[in-house]
Symmetry: C2
Subunit: 410 residues, 2 copies
């Protein structure tokens, strides 16, 4: 029997993260070089609290794996532990002791750029202390903001949620002939990939969403109001997709800061950007507004998982185990796109330190319309990622029917 | 060629209302007693503005009907016109003239209790003025609050949305080991049917949603906090489903009133009940809270339509046309349930005046747990209505997999 493995999940939920867990555990089960398969309960925090479960004991049937893949959010539980200079030695020393106690030879951490920082730092720490424990990162984030990878597992499902629900929000607004500005607030503090995916809803009535604002381009309130007024001339319902993290030209967040409230990573809590824009529209346009916050469903709606996303999430989990068994450490499994159509990818190891603590934002040339639209390249990039299945034949692919209401017989 | 028909949609959107339009138009197309098939653009408001479209011209293929059935919200557009004593004569006289101009013999209005009031009053008015125009109401509302019918088309899909997304919200909360109260705000001003449907999410982790509050039972803040604290002892994440219209024992809405703001029906605008409960939890429990407003998606999410709902919505549209051709007027098509399992219904005409301006609320005996839970009868009532298809074999029917996090190996 070989060394044991330990796997954990970290950061914010996605609809696909348990598929990565399933992929890693299945791969490990098929390889005699791996002994016990342990899961961290609540990530590294759980390790420090000695909360470790036996995954061989809990995942015993094909049905368990099928259900795990279809279950959204962290089955093992998550944490948002940030390794800092002042707790690094204590945290890593505690973890190393437990890894020794459990005879762990393979360590897997599934998360975003903070998690890749953990993978990188922990692997260095273990090498410094003479421990031969391979540490491999498995990518995950709905924000799609990891460096060195074409996209991240979890993003495709979240993008499918955003584009599908945006189409329905457009139909809802289109039910009434009342001048309205609908503001749809989408997650993404510094990267606008998920907000950009609202562009795929443009198969609905008109060209809604009419305005799409990403954090990468400065937000100009006057320009926003002028454009909304212009759109309202031809369509009473103006639909706006806006990223929670948009900023003014001076770099200040549009969402009003709440002084003194910060999370574990030092990110500041803020009032919603949607409330700010709603107030702006009310004051400057005087029309009805409706703010819709997609909230946690954009990250947890497994009923709208994209099939390619689940498959890739499974694959990166499985490949992480292969990398570790090949002796790789301090790497993350990255996805490299070979072509859009047919959609083809390959997987490759990249140094975790190149991913750690960086954010991959939307390229400036993919942002058009003076900062209120996205380009055809963005549409081409997004389209394969949100497909419900590989043949694209699901019933909801049928476009909505929009009656011509202007063709009055009277 | 017989008389022409005119059909309109009114009130708030649902995911199933266009299926009723499809059913009515298809039925009419198959019957030579009906000549032209006209659609009101934006309901009665559109009639008064002479916005009438030719549906024979716009719905010409099988594909059009398939797409129409799959399109959420009002394809014809809606209005919230309220017929009052002081505008009744003017509105009905204007409508009667247009009905004469268009040689209409059959008038269909698809909506809630306000729409059934319109059907009833208009049919009386037309009879008084010697017009032989049959007026038939087609039921629709996500609130499920119409009298004389087991349930209303649109409700099943909305209930499926609530129960499906509630399961995912529970998984999302379950990702973290942080004491939190999640408050999910669900539509329903006076009737709690839709909020009650969150009970169907109890196949997820634990027994969440732990507390379910309907407008039919008085809300006691002290009891709420005591129960939330009790649940938090065994589970850090307490999940609460709450109807927007819950009231204190003295009959006051929990949502704070905003004086002077009323809609066209005289309903008062209010601050969100979720904000009130969030503040209550923060003050009394001191823990993290997250408020999730299901917003317009609970009524417009056609991607989660319930198959029985779409079928029944189609049927009530089709049967309304049959009733009119049989000479019935001032009636609504009602659904009568014959059995839960197997699920069987029949359709019957009921007087529109018996439906008009009343609300069917949840029976007191179906509300349990001192006003914070619903009974097994409610579960039995709801279960057939939310099925994704008649065989119940959709992939999402597979229950989520919940790992046992307490079984630590250390």
């Amino acid at each position: 029997m070989g060394k044991n493995m330990l796997i954990g999940q970290s950061g914010g939920p996605t609809a696909a993260i348990n598929a990565s867990l399933a992929g890693a555990v299945r791969e490990a089960m098929g390889n005699s070089a791996i002994g016990e398969i342990y899961g961290m309960v609540y990530g590294l925090e759980g390790v420090m609290n000695r909360q470790i479960i036996d995954l061989r004991a809990q995942l015993t049937t094909q049905e368990h794996f099928r259900r795990l893949i279809g279950t959204p959010c962290m089955a093992l539980g998550s944490c948002r532990l940030k390794i800092k200079d002042n707790n690094r030695e204590e945290v890593f020393n505690g973890i190393m002791k437990i890894l020794r106690d459990l005879d762990v030879g393979y360590f897997f951490y599934n998360g975003g750029n903070d998690s890749m920082d953990t993978v990188n730092q922990l692997s260095e720490y273990l090498i410094e202390h003479g421990e031969d424990i391979k540490c491999v990162g498995i990518p995950k984030t709905i924000d799609n903001d990891l460096m060195c990878t074409d996209h991240t597992p979890g993003f495709g499902s979240a993008a499918r949620y955003v584009s599908t629900t945006m189409k329905e929000i457009i139909c809802d607004a289109y039910s009434y002939n009342i001048p309205t500005v609908v503001i749809v607030e989408i997650m993404g503090r510094n990267a606008g990939w998920l907000t950009a995916s609202s562009v795929l809803a443009r198969s609905g009535p008109g060209t809604a969403p009419h305005l799409i604002y990403l954090p990468e381009a400065p937000f100009d309130p006057d320009d926003f109001i002028n454009k909304a007024l212009r759109h309202q001339k031809s369509n009473p319902n103006v639909i706006v997709a806006v990223s929670e993290g948009i900023k003014y030209a001076d770099g200040e967040y549009v969402a009003a800061a709440k002084p003194g409230m910060v999370d574990a990573f030092g990110h500041q809590y803020r009032d919603s950007v949607g409330i700010q824009l709603e107030n702006l529209v009310r004051e400057r346009m005087g029309c009805k507004t409706r703010r819709i916050e997609l909230s946690v469903l954009q990250r947890s709606a497994s009923h709208l998982s994209a099939a390619i996303d689940l498959r890739e999430a499974y694959n990166v989990g499985s490949i992480a185990v292969k990398y570790a068994l090949e002796g790789k450490t301090a790497v993350m499994v990255a996805i490299k796109r070979i072509s859009d159509s047919p959609y083809l990818v390959k997987y490759e190891p990249v140094p975790a330190k190149d991913v750690a603590n960086h954010e991959r934002t939307v390229p400036a040339k993919w942002i058009t319309g003076g900062g209120s639209n996205v380009s055809q390249q963005m549409i081409d990039y997004l389209t394969p990622l949100v497909q419900p299945d590989l043949t694209g034949t699901n019933h909801e692919e049928l476009p909505f029917l929009i009656l011509d209401r202007t063709a009055s017989v009277l």
